[in-house]
Every structure is written in structure tokens, then in C-alpha cells.
């Protein structure tokens, strides 16, 4: 969702996938329920989208990390991430987000339903998500610790 506004940056594969998704939305008569917002400016508008969302869902079948998980958490949005995503490392399931089996779509649906209906849990996890990023993953802290950590790493 994030990123620039440069349409040229979209690959042909992505364009084809977008057309396919839109087609499936129409086929299932979900046009009134699904909005494709496209790319929005990262620094200005994207945080507002995160803050106005109840959930952030990263259902990827392949995801080296998924920086978007941290962006969402920083905005206090509850993350539900796929078990293959690298960003699962920063989530304690049920405490500051949720991790679901990549291939278990029913479990994903169940987790979404639970989180949306349990307002007490909802509030606790959202607060914990924001706290996790603020306390442990701020840029300042990262940029202080990364050089130190890499220097300590044996190279051979």
C-alpha cells in the first residue's frame, strides 16, 4: 500500500494481479465492501490509513520481512501476519499481534473475527503493538545498535 506515486514503478505482473483481484471482487459482488486505494504517499497519508484501520493483515505466502507490519504497529493497528513473514519475529502471538499459518485461511478468518469482536483484547493488543515499536524498534535505537551488533558478529 505504501510507497511513491509513480505508476511506472508497477510491474506488468503487479498490474495483471490487480486486474485479477478487481475481477474477483466484482464476481463476488463485494464492490461495496472493498476499496482498492492504490499507492498513497508514505509519510503524509499512509499513517492515517493505518490509524483508521482496525486490523493490518499481512497474508503473504512469501515475505522476507514485511516492514509494513512495523509501520502498522507504530500506528497502533493490530497486526495479523502470515507465519512465513520475517516480521513474525517481533510479534508475540496474542500479546502485540497475531500469527496465523500461511496456508490456513480458515484460521485467518477466525482470528479476524475474534479480534474484531473482542474489544477488550483489541485495545490491549493495539496498545502493546504501538509500545513494542516505540520501545524496541525506533530508528534512533536501531541506528545506534546496528553498527554495534554487526561489529561484534564474527565474519569468518
Amino acid at each position: 500500500m505504501g510507497g511513491g506515486e509513480n505508476e511506472e514503478a508497477i510491474s506488468l505482473e503487479e498490474k495483471a494481479a490487480e486486474i485479477q483481484i478487481k475481477k474477483r471482487i466484482e464476481e463476488n459482488k463485494l464492490s461495496d465492501h472493498v476499496t482498492m486505494i492504490g499507492q498513497v504517499p508514505h509519510d503524509t497519508i499512509l499513517p492515517a490509513y493505518y490509524r483508521n484501520s482496525d486490523l493490518f493483515i499481512l497474508a503473504s505466502r512469501y515475505e522476507p520481512f514485511g516492514l509494513t507490519t512495523m509501520e502498522a504497529m507504530a500506528c497502533g493497528t493490530i497486526p495479523i501476519v502470515s507465519s512465513v513473514a520475517g516480521s513474525r519475529e517481533i510479534i508475540v502471538d496474542g500479546l502485540n499481534g497475531f500469527i496465523v499459518d500461511t496456508h490456513d485461511r480458515k484460521a485467518l478468518a477466525k482470528t479476524i473475527a475474534t479480534v474484531l469482536t473482542d474489544t477488550k483484547l483489541n485495545k490491549k493488543v493495539a496498545d502493546n503493538a504501538a509500545f513494542t515499536i516505540k520501545e524496541h524498534y525506533s530508528w534512533d535505537k536501531n541506528c545506534r545498535e546496528i553498527p554495534c551488533s554487526l561489529q561484534k558478529t564474527p565474519l569468518n
Partner: protein, 95 residues
């Protein structure tokens, strides 16, 4: 400290990029430069960092292989020589 950051080449490394790794490298480069490190960013030619202290070294998929070979060899030869990078962060996670 002299730092080399090897970014992903899927997208340009800049703030309004669409790639997470590229965005991370962009912010890491500018923040480390602000903290006084000498940062050399190996990224696509159309990359852009607002901080002038970050030197962008344009690479493509082919030349990145040579860059990586050179870095690993230079690490093995002599890590402490002044002309060498003291720290190399390769963040090309997905490829």
C-alpha cells in the same frame, strides 16, 4: 566509521520507494550519516537520499555480484585497514 550498505536492487532506494528493504536502507543510510558515519550506499542508479553525506554508488544486478565478492574478500584479507569499509550491511534479504 566507514559503512557500506548494500541495498536491494528491485526498486530504487529512496524515501518514496515501494520496497520495504529499500525504504529501510534509505532511512538507515541517512540516519547513520547524521550520526557522523561515512555511508556508501550501493543501490540502483535512480536511488536518492536527502542527506548529501551519503555517497550513492550505482550498481546493477550484475555488478552487485562483483561488489559482494570484493567485500567478502577484503574482509578476509584485512578488516582494519583504513581504506577498507569497517562495516558492511547487506540488506538484500529477498534475493
Amino acid at each position: 566509521m566507514k559503512v557500506a550498505i548494500l541495498s536491494s536492487l528491485s526498486q530504487p532506494t529512496k524515501l518514496d520507494t515501494r520496497g520495504g528493504t529499500e525504504l529501510f536502507c534509505s532511512l538507515l543510510a541517512s540516519t547513520l550519516a547524521k550520526k557522523g558515519h561515512h555511508v556508501y550506499l550501493f543501490a540502483t542508479a535512480d536511488s536518492y537520499i536527502e542527506n548529501d553525506l551519503v555517497k550513492i554508488i550505482p550498481v546493477n544486478q550484475h555488478s552487485m555480484i562483483d561488489v559482494k565478492k570484493k567485500f567478502y574478500q577484503s574482509f578476509q584479507r584485512d578488516m582494519t585497514a583504513d581504506e577498507k569499509y569497517k562495516l558492511i550491511a547487506s540488506l538484500d534479504a529477498g534475493h
